[in-house]
Symmetry: none
Subunit: 203 residues, 4 copies
DNA sequence: TATGAATGAGCATTCATTCAT
DNA sequence: AATGAATGAATGCTCATTCAT
């Protein structure tokens, strides 16, 4: 049992080492050599923990995603409005430092870039699973908002998708316009708030 | 006297040859060798017409963009409603064949992918110019719709951006969900229609 | 007859255009394209006047060499001492501008560089002919100096060679030590003066 | 445990393989492919031992230079005259075979050729360091000769430089005149002997 | 005479992955 | 488990020269 924990631990260490490199240089531009050096292990050792470079990227993504989920779970309160819950979902308080948030944005962009040219279907499938998870959450919030009388919505599925797709669109826009993390976040918030206002019940 | 050559024509020929390759294999994955072979010229010849590989991509994109603009200009009528004009903007009737539309979608995705990892700023700047062009057009339509009494809109700029950003988001979603061109288009339309309906004046 | 003169004239024009390029970028690094552009003719045209790139270099060298000879012939006086004649030979008053002298030095270095890796024997033969010409001149001066009682020399041939070989060595040293033309010239003069002093008759 | 490899030894092996090629074809004309093939390793392997092609050239030069220094150290005797020490410095007994001496000459010429067109300053700096080393040695010998009463010299620095510069000049002359190693060496010796005789104390 | 379009061989360097130790 | 030496395919770009017009 101890061994397995160690194995998991080492995997995480290597993945953590890769984060900086991936976000600074890009996934393709980061060589296994660099990851090994940065993780303080031999190149061959990496292949004992990961089948290939892509798998490292997925591990990185899993780590960050899990961090986000955990941090979100902590800051969410059941007495929050649906609107607050949704907007809070796109906050990234798990990133303590400014730098981490910028890194997160860059990583996400690199990840989307890889997915867009993916031939294997690995990135695609992985990415799609996040779409579904996010959709389940957002539409859950919206339904809750309807039940509570906060919203009036015709097509919850559609609105939920609009929000999630907007997030992806903002990632692209952020790169094109050379936005900082905060600018990108503000842009996204603005759009979501606009969408939610349209279906908010006025007293 | 030198051989008489229509330089523009030859440039286009080479670019056209590259389109298939770019959309099938991706931009990075397509080698200059392949483009040359596919265009039926020597490798060196390509460099008489293009400074480098990137310039080919931009030429390809310019060609398609121009085709789209021209086709749109032809099918647009001044008596159309603003809604029809906007929705018609995302039609791609310039692609006659089914295959061309799929190609268009794939190319767009590859282009976005390259832009997302662009270090030089070339792709980014080029891409941003399209954002601006599209924004000018969409917000123009919205303003026209307001004037005609078709819409009631608080923040034209915001809505216009929402629409354009949604397009980018749908590109990402289309790849993740392995959508065909038609599915992607339907998805986009659905979202735009939803947005426009929210601000459509009811009689 | 007029035609032949024109032909010579055009050859010179092209060669003159090449001088700047050769001295700035080096012989190998200068492309025929650049020479053509700089000369204001088409690439193919160059081949009507020169068999290949090497021939341009030789033409350049011939021009400069002829200029040197003519300028030297003008400034030499029969009543000069042998010492003055020899030292005057390594002056480059035909270069009016500072820039031209630096260019001359660089060109000479590039030329020697090409000669040192020459496989065809063309550069080598060409270069050797200059050795012989210079030797004839220098040893002529030395003999004259002996006759006039200016020098006492055991082995005129050897001293003459020493002087010529020193010139080549200084070219190499000048590059290694990043010398300006003047520094290189001073260095050469110093060495020649030293050599000549050893065999100067004291009254 | 990884394969046990003497990295220094392998580096030398590769460099040794390059020597033949460099001297036969020239440095620029020798491709990494050829070096790899000749060394019996894959192209990529070379880059595990050398950063780039230039580094191979420097390694080659270091090896030969070290060989020369070691061989010279062995054959020098403290009771030799300064003249013998200086002349012995330009002997190349470390080259056992005739072929090796010719190779040495050719290599030196190629190296000078590269230096003469060097833009980076690498070759230049490297070359200059040899100038300095040689100057220290030669002037050391001359001073010793003066102290022992063997020479009478006004300007030791100048004479030392003359000798070193002559060596470079002879390299150029040797190529132009298609000299064998022995001819080149004889020529150099002749000149040095002449210079030293001029300042030798007669009893 | 002049043009300039076309050619295509040539080359340094990178890097994911393997596998002998 | 860990290492790190070795691999070799893959690629954008240059340029002297030719030759159809």
């Amino acid at each position: 049992m101890a061994r397995i924990i160690d194995k998991e631990e080492k995997r995480s260490e290597i993945a953590r080492s890769a984060i900086d490199l991936f976000s600074q240089k890009g996934i393709v531009q980061t060589s296994m050599d660099e990851i090994a050096k940065s993780a303080g292990v031999a190149k061959g050792t990496i292949y004992l923990y990961f089948k290939n470079k892509e798998e490292i990227m997925f591990a990185v993504w899993d780590m960050l995603s899990q961090q986000h989920d955990e941090a979100y779970a902590k800051r969410i309160r059941s007495d929050m409005s649906a609107r607050e819950k949704i907007l809070g979902f796109f906050d990234f308080t798990e990133c303590e430092k400014e730098h981490d948030k910028e890194q997160m944005l860059t990583l996400y962009q690199h990840f989307v870039s890889s997915m867009l040219v993916d031939k294997t279907g690995l990135y695609t499938a992985y990415f799609e699973s996040f779409f579904e998870k996010d959709h389940a959450f957002i539409s859950g919030c919206l339904h809750e908002g309807i039940k509570k009388g906060e919203f009036y919505i015709n097509n919850v599925d559609l609105l939920s998708h609009t929000i999630i797709i907007l997030l992806k669109g903002v990632l692209v826009k952020a790169k094109a316009s050379n936005m900082s993390f905060y600018e990108a976040q503000q842009t996204l918030m603005q759009h979501i708030i606009y969408l939610l206002e349209q279906c908010t019940r006025k007293p």
